[in-house]
C-alpha cells in the first residue's frame, strides 16, 4: 500500500481530462477551403515534405513512405526520376518533418508538400485549423510510378481547385452534421467513410455549379467525388485533427491527443505532456490481403489516420459499421464488443456522435493512458496495409493495436514531469 494518497493529483487529472474530453467532443469542424499546402500549412517550407507519424529520418523510413516521398519530389519537380529523387533525399536535399508538427495529418505515408492542395478545416468551437491531404489508393501507399503521381496532378490542377471554389462560394461546409449522419449510416469514418463521402459529394454539386466551375472541370470533379468511397476520410482526419489539437497542452491531462505511425515507429502524444512523442516500433497488422499479396509483403503500421480513433471513430466505432465487419474477422457482436471495450480506456461518451447498434449510445472518446495501462486494453485501430517496399499501391487492410510501451513510457514521463518520483 502506498502511504499517503495524493488525492490532490488525482483530482487535478480528473479535471484536466474532463476539460480535454469537453474540447474534443465540442469541436465544430467546418471545411473552409482547399488550398495548396504551401499557402496555408504553418511552417511548410519549399523543399520540405511532411510525412505521417512521429519524426523519422530518411534512412529509417519504411519502404512505402520512402516511395511516397520520392513521388512527392517528382511531383514538385525537384527531381526528374526515381533515382535522382532518391539521391536528393539521401543527400539531405529535402527536409522531412512530421505532419503533426504542422497542424496537419495525412493518410498512410501521409506526404504533403507545397503544391499539394489540402483540406482546410476550422474548428469553430476553439478557433484552430487543421489540414489534411487527399486520400487515394496509390501514391500514399508508396507508389511512385507515373500513374500514381498523375492522380495527385489531377487533384492539384482540377479537382481541388473546383471543390475549393465551391466551398468558398458556400462560405464553408459544416462537417459535424455529415459525420453524425454517417455514423448512423454504417460508417466508422476511417476504413468505411462511404456514407459520408456520398453526402459530401451530394453537397458539392450545386455550389460548384453556382460558383461557375467550368463544365469540363465540373464533370471531371463530380465523377471523381461521386466514385470515391474513401473521399471523406481526408475530411474525417482533418476534423479529428482539429478536435484533438484543441485538447493539447492541458496540464495534468492524461488524454491522448494523437496516435500516428510512419511504418517505422508508432507514436502517441498526450495532452499534459505536449511536445513529446512516446514511440515504439510500429506493429504488424493483422489483416487480409488483395490478390497477389500475402503476409510477407506487408509493411508495418503506417499513417496519421489513427487520429480518427483518437477522437472516437474508426476502430472505436466499428460496432456501427457492419459493412466492414468481415474485415475485422468476425461477427457483428464482436465488432460491437470492440466499441464497448474502448469505453474502459476512455474518458467519456460523445454526446453528438452515436451508434444505433449500441442503443444510440455515444462513441468512446478521450483515450486515457492510465486506463490503457491499468486495463491492458489497447486502442483498436482499423487500417490499410502498404507494401514493405517502395512502388506499390494498397495491398490489404486489417486491424492493429498500438504497442503498450508507448503508454508506459508516457506514464513514466508523466510521473517525472509532475513529480511523482
Amino acid at each position: 500500500m502506498t502511504g499517503v494518497e495524493p488525492i490532490d493529483i488525482k483530482e487535478k487529472i480528473q479535471a484536466a481530462n474532463a476539460e480535454a474530453f469537453n474540447r474534443i467532443v465540442s469541436a465544430d469542424p467546418v471545411l473552409v477551403d482547399i488550398r495548396p499546402a504551401g499557402e496555408v500549412v504553418p511552417g511548410l517550407e519549399d523543399r520540405m515534405v511532411l510525412h505521417s507519424g512521429p519524426p523519422v529520418e530518411w534512412r529509417n523510413m519504411s519502404g512505402a513512405q520512402k516511395g511516397a516521398v520520392i513521388a512527392m519530389a517528382i511531383f514538385e519537380c525537384w527531381a526528374d526520376d526515381i533515382q535522382s529523387a532518391e539521391e536528393l533525399l539521401s543527400g539531405g536535399g529535402i527536409k522531412l518533418e512530421s505532419n503533426h508538427h504542422h497542424d496537419a495529418v495525412g493518410p498512410m505515408a501521409g506526404t504533403i508538400s507545397k503544391s499539394l492542395p489540402v483540406y482546410v478545416v476550422e474548428n469553430r468551437a476553439y478557433g484552430n485549423r487543421a489540414y489534411c491531404r487527399l486520400v487515394e489508393d496509390q501514391q500514399q501507399f508508396g507508389n511512385y510510378h507515373t500513374e500514381a503521381i498523375d492522380g495527385l496532378r489531377m487533384w492539384r490542377d482540377v479537382w481541388a481547385p473546383s471543390l475549393g471554389q465551391g466551398i468558398r462560394h458556400m462560405g464553408g461546409l459544416s462537417l459535424k452534421p455529415i459525420i453524425a449522419k454517417a455514423l448512423q449510416m454504417g460508417d466508422e469514418l476511417h476504413n468505411r467513410p462511404n456514407a459520408a463521402s456520398a453526402i459530401f459529394a451530394g453537397a458539392m454539386g450545386v455550389p460548384m455549379i453556382e460558383s461557375g466551375v467550368t463544365t469540363t472541370d465540373l464533370t471531371s470533379t463530380l465523377s471523381y467525388i461521386s466514385g470515391h468511397d474513401l473521399l471523406f476520410l481526408g475530411l474525417a482526419m482533418a476534423s479529428a485533427k482539429s478536435a484533438a489539437d484543441s485538447a493539447r497542452g492541458i496540464e495534468y491531462s492524461t488524454v491522448v491527443t494523437a496516435m500516428a505511425r510512419n511504418g517505422y515507429e508508432f507514436g502517441i502524444n498526450v495532452s499534459g505532456l505536449d511536445g513529446d512523442w512516446f514511440t515504439a516500433p510500429a506493429p504488424a497488422i493483422d489483416g487480409l490481403y488483395l490478390p497477389g499479396y500475402g503476409e510477407g509483403d506487408g509493411g508495418f503500421d503506417m499513417g496519421d489516420s489513427a487520429i480518427t480513433e483518437t477522437v472516437g471513430w474508426g476502430g472505436f466505432a466499428l460496432g456501427g459499421a457492419p459493412g466492414i465487419l468481415s474485415l475485422v474477422g468476425g461477427t457483428p457482436e464482436e465488432a460491437l464488443n470492440y466499441s464497448r471495450e474502448m469505453r474502459e480506456i476512455t474518458t467519456g461518451l460523445s454526446p453528438d456522435y452515436s451508434i444505433p447498434a449500441l442503443g444510440f449510445e455515444g462513441t468512446a472518446v478521450g483515450i486515457d493512458i492510465r486506463k490503457v495501462a491499468a486495463s491492458g486494453t489497447l486502442p483498436i485501430i482499423d487500417t490499410a496495409i502498404a507494401h514493405k517496399n517502395p512502388g506499390h499501391s494498397i495491398i490489404g487492410a486489417g486491424l492493429v493495436r498500438p504497442p503498450m510501451v508507448c503508454f508506459h513510457n508516457a506514464l513514466r514521463a508523466f510521473a517525472a514531469k509532475y513529480g511523482l518520483g
Binding site: 502506498t2 495524493p6 493529483i9 488525482k10 487529472i13 492524461t254 492510465r370 486506463k371 495501462a373 491499468a374 486495463s375 491492458g376 503498450m404 508506459h408 506514464l411 513514466r412 508523466f414 510521473a415 511523482l420
Partner: protein, 59 residues
C-alpha cells in the same frame, strides 16, 4: 440503535459478489443461487511494478 455498517448489511442481504481471479469461485457462487459478476482479470500494466506504482498514485 446503532447505525448499520456495510458488514451488517452483508450479513442481512443476499450475497452479490464481484469475483476477481479463479473463475471456479464465480461458478460456485452462481450454482448456489448467489449473484455474481466475474471480472476477466489480468495483471495491471502487464505486471510492470514501476507502472503499477505510478498508476496507484494517479488512478
Amino acid at each position: 440503535m446503532e447505525s448499520k455498517t456495510a458488514i451488517d448489511k452483508l450479513l442481512a442481504t443476499p450475497v452479490a459478489a464481484i469475483n476477481l481471479g479463479v473463475e471456479d469461485f464465480a461458478d460456485n457462487l452462481e450454482s448456489q443461487g448467489a449473484w455474481v459478476v466475474h471480472v476477466n482479470w489480468t495483471p495491471p500494466a502487464g505486471g510492470d511494478p514501476e507502472i503499477i506504482a505510478i498508476l496507484d498514485k494517479i488512478l
